[in-house]
Symmetry: C2
Subunit: 425 residues, 2 copies
């Protein structure tokens, strides 16, 4: 079975000096995969004619579809459009529909006068089919050459996303009718990658050739993914579901979810099912858990708020942590997080609470409490569970791991609530 393959070329000097992180490619990869298109390579090049030309040649040589993003803005370092025009042998022409759209955007949305550069954004290569960019001024472009497709999209994330969803994916599906790719993903916590690999070694070895297993470790958890592709959708589905059932059995004790969802989504769904709410009292995570939860739309149904007590004074004033506790056992202690949790539960009037206090680094560690020492607490009105963690990573990762571990502890607490737990208060 021949796979339909794609390459993504991202264009921009900013990608090569590291001033921005490329989040577009990951999102585009997801959309292509869901559509049954295998992404085989991603390439990033600078705003240079020869570099873009060479990348286009190379990727077209390997893939059926080449998607370019970036290099379509109104400024002088954007050269993708004239390059594509020359590459496919046409010329730039003013497109009346695009011009009308750009004019309307400036009049009705931006409410600013257009300048020459904006008008020129309505020029497109005559050999391209124009893809309508509903939310921006740079149109997408679709070229066909030797049974291959080249698509150029603006680099602004929400413009690229609108074009992918409304134009690119539907056109690719209708053009190629690609094979189905199915993924089954589960998330484990509390077991290292090596030990997991050892445990499922024989399963992995005996997988049918049509199914691949991948390990995706992240945030101290390991995601396992089975992938299968082909044209007989029902047969593939049955095969992958059979293997996935076996895999779930093998990791039952460390399984967080058998869906492709993150830890915060798992907790959100638990709360939604129960019609219950959560609040947080955060010291070392500084609001990270609250913003993680509220990054999901609809989170107001299960999240009420947070008291971020970065300073000890705030722990005393708003969370009733006694100064005597802070002066003796300190802010990074079981007593402190338990008190933070108890007060936040009352102040925020929620069913559940998460509290965190720790030393995220790089500074602040002592011999007794080295950098990476964290206390977390979770619970409800009848019981608070606390746990000490020790990380040895950089600040960003220590914060992320604290959030993941706290959410996992809450998940376990919610599922097992009512059962007697250790470390209870």
């Amino acid at each position: 079975m021949e796979l339909l393959t794609a390459s993504i070329i991202t264009i921009g000097d900013e990608l090569l000096i590291g001033q921005v992180i490329d989040t577009n490619s990951a999102w585009m990869a997801q959309q292509l995969n869901l559509a049954g298109i295998t992404l085989s390579r991603r390439v990033a090049v600078g705003d240079e004619w020869n570099a873009i030309w060479t990348a286009l040649d190379q990727e077209l040589n390997k893939a059926d579809i080449v998607l370019l993003t970036g290099g379509l803005g109104p400024t002088a370092d954007d050269i993708t459009k004239p390059l594509l025009c020359e590459y496919f042998g046409g010329k730039l022409v003013m497109n009346a529909e695009v011009l009308a759209h750009v004019t309307r955007l400036f009049e009705q949305v931006y409410k600013r006068p257009m300048i020459e550069r904006n008008i020129r954004q309505a020029e497109v290569p005559d050999l391209a089919q124009v893809l309508h960019n509903a939310v921006g001024t740079a149109p997408g472009m679709w070229f066909e050459k030797n049974n291959k497709i080249v698509i150029s999209l603006p680099g602004v994330p929400h413009e690229m996303k609108g074009l992918m969803t409304n134009e690119v994916i539907p056109r690719l599906l209708s053009h190629f009718q690609p094979p189905v790719i199915l993924h089954r993903t589960l998330l484990t916590a509390g077991i290292g990658e090596s030990f997991l690999a050892e445990r499922i070694h024989s399963f992995e070895t005996n997988l049918p050739a049509s199914i691949r297993l991948a390990y995706l470790p992240n945030y101290g958890m390991v995601r396992l993914r089975l992938s299968a592709s082909g044209y007989e959708k029902e047969k593939i589905r049955q095969q992958i579901d059979e293997q996935f059932a076996v895999l779930q059995e093998l990791v039952a004790d460390v399984l967080v979810t058998n869906k492709d969802e993150s830890m915060d989504q798992v907790v959100a769904n638990l709360l939604l099912q129960r019609g219950e709410t959560l609040g947080t009292a955060e010291s070392c995570t500084g609001g990270y858990i609250a913003q993680l939860i509220t990054s999901a739309s609809g989170s107001s149904r299960y999240f009420k708020g947070s008291i971020v007590s970065y300073a000890n004074q705030v722990k005393t004033d708003l969370l009733n942590v006694p100064e005597s506790v802070l002066n003796t056992v300190g802010a990074v202690s079981e007593e402190t997080v338990v008190q933070m949790a108890k007060t936040a539960l009352q102040s925020l009037k929620t069913e559940y609470v998460i509290a965190t206090s720790g030393i995220m680094g790089p500074g602040g560690g002592t011999e007794e409490k080295p950098t990476g020492t964290v206390w977390i607490a979770v619970g409800n009105a009848s019981e608070i569970m606390a746990k000490k963690l020790q990380f040895r990573f950089d600040r960003r990762r220590n914060i992320e791991l604290t959030a993941t571990n706290a959410l996992n502890l809450l998940r376990i607490f919610i599922i097992s609530r009512g059962n007697g737990k250790t470390n209870s208060h």
Copy 2:
């Protein structure tokens, strides 16, 4: 002048199905640039022998240095090490020093027994120089072939970073003694990319050939960067400083900072210089501003905490927003954010405060207050300034833009405090 060029190859199926975002490459690019090495391409390929081999061939053909990350873990989908061994024509041998290091890590840090897979991580190609990975089990590897360098690093971010800083960069500098690359970066806010380009068009056209200008729009701001490289460091420095002085003059009215720093760093530095503190009262940003500020180490010197009032009840209970205000003008209103700001200032006992309330989408908008409507307030004990914003992006970007705008308003407030402002309370 011949530039020393590098390519980065990132390896892993997870990059091609979009399950993780590649943050490693951006960081590596920064480090290479600072060392005077021009990154010319970044390529991502899956865990497949031929794909990695081809990428290695292609990138070695173009660049002086090829850095590979990923594919060195203990699991079966990691094939980089045997591939490099075959590519360079050697064989895998057990390295006693690496084995001793891995053994020590398991005994003293992980406190778990080693299994066969872990031991095999101490095997390295006999033609490679081993780069010591102080914080992980997978060693880095350094190969030389035809005056070119190939470096293989683990994909775990903090392991990769340690190896880059302690091993790779020092060795590359000593091996190549590359030209200097200098960048000068400034940040503007409140002017669109096209208008900025129009304003500095003649400056850009008249730049000497040795200096390049790039536009880096992000979060509703535009960063401008001048770059120059060469061997005569002092001459280059003088040239770029002269042009940078001209550029600063041209954008003086919209200039946020003339350093390569983010908006939150600018605000942090202002607060540090004044020895003053900040707290936040966040509704629609849900703790995003607090976590952004506390993601910087040392932020406890200027940040005390936040009251995240996602639910209206929390706005009433903890921030004294009257129910009558919520029931009439609503949570997304000037009255609400001003009251949130005033109470937070008192509760958190800080010199300055930021408050936010808005509709981030996709749901929740009305005709009167469409999705993207946001009220922000900033101020101190004598004055609160409020401002209404209207965004038209997705949820994530609306949250980020709210944070940036609120921090910028606070920056302007701090700089101009004492002067009479409009919209004061």
